[in-house]
Amino acid sequence: MNLTKNWDWETARKTIPFKEWNEKFEWVEEPYVSPDGEEIAAIVNTGEAEFNICANGNLWETTYEKIWHLRYLADNRLAAIVNEDGEWTVSVNDTPWENRFDYVWQPMFTDDGQHIAVAIQSGMEYGMALDDKPWETLYANMSNATLSPDGKQTAASVQIDDFNEGEIFKFEKGVFSAAVNGNAWDNKFVNVWQSAFNQDGSKVAAEVRLSRTEYAIAVNGINWGKTYDAVWEPLFNPKTGSVIAPVLRKGSWTLAEDGNILWSNRYKQVWHQTFSPDGSRIAAIVAPSFGKWTIAVDDKPWQATINDLIWGIVFSPDSRRIAATTKEGDNWSVIADGSVWTHTFDMVGTPVFSPDSKHIAVKVEKNKKHTITINDRVWSEEFDAIWDPVFNDTGDKVMLRTIENGTYCRRVMPVDELLR
């Protein structure tokens, strides 16, 4: 999948007027820009209870009573949740889905932008819809919606049996399960939380609670057979197909694989485990001791620790490097390959690796101004807004999408120039 190859990497600068929209409409909501940088769009109010979407200055043909959750897909199509005559649906590039629902929320998109899943409610029954096709079976309640990586399947936690508020003993017998494509597992649990698909979509693993105090991971409805004091979200090993999840026992967290303890070290916390693209390494955010946070790679924690927060762990494409955002007090920064960057900001975005894994770029904010930082070097230009940087497929150019004095600007710049 190489979405960026055919984008315009030659034109140094393109601009689209934006602030003028404020004069054309009653109000303009926060803008979004397309991944290729060619479009800027926002929900706009055109009159009392009249909303539309303006993309590059052009309105969609359809006006709606309400619109929310406007987002660009990876293939540069524009999607939003829209309401017409009291019914909700999804509209993509001004073409609404055929199905209408009493409510639609939590849109999820595949990495290639080809598939869209949403949570739906119809007649007070709950389920999911994938690419305009709703589940055949709906449930009394649903949460933790998940879309498979290939975009062909959906899963969620669902309520199987009726119970009234206050029926705590019925609740403890287990009235929840997971449903995959609308079909519930045979087994019921006290709770079912976040689930994950394996690579080919043949298995779903979910964090489950078996009683007030017993937690496990269930795979296709069958729990590990070993219980823990708590678990967090599972993940399939892309190489072996095993299931990895953080587990708590006797006050300490570690990683388990298919029910057996995987990592030797014990931590105050372990979560957000992630595999390298080649599947050979596991990294996770860990707290080696109370109030100290770092990243452990294959159970080896980095020396550098952070007091407040580590977030957004990312592997490089070559699987060798790792970066994440950090927060110490009011200062946000980046930790990469075990070292914390020297520059700090009021906010930082998620680190982006270049395709050759040489560079790490991240959008940053300081004193209400926004710019880009590459490899801990801060670019001197500042903007009113900026989106995540995008590298070209050879990693020698970066596209910056910014708003400058009310004008949207798409720049393509050599990485070397930003590093000067």
């Binding site: 009653e26 109000w27 909501e29 926060e30 109010n45 009392e48 209870a49 309400k66 929310w68 959750h69 009493d102 409510y103 929320w105 939590q106 949570a119 409610q121 709950y126 309640n141 649903m142 949460s143 309520q159 508020e165 206050g166 705590i168 003993f169 609740f171 403890e172 929840f176 006290v190 709770n191 939380w193 609670r209 007030r212 105090t213 937690y215 004091d229 708590a230 967090w232 708590l248 006797k250 006050g251 105050k268 916390q269 979560w271 707290a287 109370f290 109030g291 946070w293 007091n307 407040d308 927060l309 977030w311 957004g312 927060k327 009011d330 009021d346 906010m347 975005g349 904010e365």
Partner: protein, 449 residues
Amino acid sequence: MADPAEKIEEKKAIPSDDNIVDEGLEKGAAALTEDKIASVINQVIDEETGARLKVYVDTCIHCGLCSEACHYYVSHDKDPQYSPVGKIKQTIWPMLKKKGRVSPEFIKKASQIASTQCNVCKRCAMYCPFGIDIAYMISIVRRICHKLGVTPLYLQDTANSHSVTMNQMWVKEDEWIDTLQWQEEDAREEIPSLRIPLEKEGADIMYSVIAPEPKFLAGLIYQAGIIMNTAGINWTMPATPGWDNSDMAMYSGDNEIMGRLKKSHFETAARLKVKKIVMGECGHAFRSVYDVGNRWLGWKMPPVEVVHAIEFYYDILKAGKIKIKKKYEKPVTLHDPCNVVRGRGLHEKARYVVNAICENFIEMHPNREHNYCCAAGGGVINCGPPFKMTRMTGNRVKADQIRTTGASVVISPCHNCHSGLEDIVHHYELGTEVKFISDILYEVMEKPE
């Protein structure tokens, strides 16, 4: 000095609390064996406590100086059974002394005492000459009872709601978002371009509330929308679970669900890349995000700064982002919520805010960190109707406090306190209105034309 707890038997008969029947306690205790009880107690003591509990237990000299601090004790005419140390004597001490070999009936009674006759308000810790945190010991009792499956029904149901929905009132995911959009639409009658921005990544502030707001008190979200828009705040609210900052699992002893809730809350803020979380007028939720839940997860402090509504109102009033059209004229008093006053020291900021918006502020006595608890917090009001009279008889002193002020309005910047005080006002026929700060702020502020 208060009467020693050993004299319990000599005192007059205890009022109705002993006769309360709660299905969660009854059925839960009926399923227990003494072996199971001993196993769980010893597991919790050995694996989940340490020097802190041992020091507290070994240091207490049974002086009873904690007694006068407790609204239950004072309101029950100094019945030592309701003194903090008396409650310890009836719960954790026998568990320790007998190495866990206590009866199911004992556990049932211990759970009732720990969950309904102590608000874990920590007032007593200030009066103990050694600073022993009795609320911590009561929390250990609740933890043991949780693991034994003996928790008051309504409190357990709330914890169950938390576990399923990540909010305390079984609010479904679509109901939450729909309520925000409904309030936004209503508020546009007043400010036509008003927004309650959903899922706005990069906003300065994520505003979080507790589930009673969308469930019963949606007007508070409306008011927040007016205040945020008028003050020109770059804010957002999440359209995913994680929006509810409340935490009754913290009070039922279900630490694992507490941790799950706080993880969801803070990770929602991190995902939205906000710089701060501003939370509505809730006290226990602040305790959970600022002290207990965050620390169970391994964070020493909240990973994203959390600002209680009192402090937020203080900031925007002080900065002139909200102007007052005409101050509120009725005489008001202020109830200092335990969790944001003893727990965070917001009492002076609360007074700044009240004086900024009200003409006639009358202090309640005692006040600030010495204020008496509302008797609703600490999960007690969440134990539901069976225990309402426990709260009423256990807080006569609060009724006296309010009555003495002569104020016609008591301001309570905490949801549990607010609900508890409404019950107190009604039960003791005080005729006082109970209001949130935002009720008055919304009424007296200048709004955009």
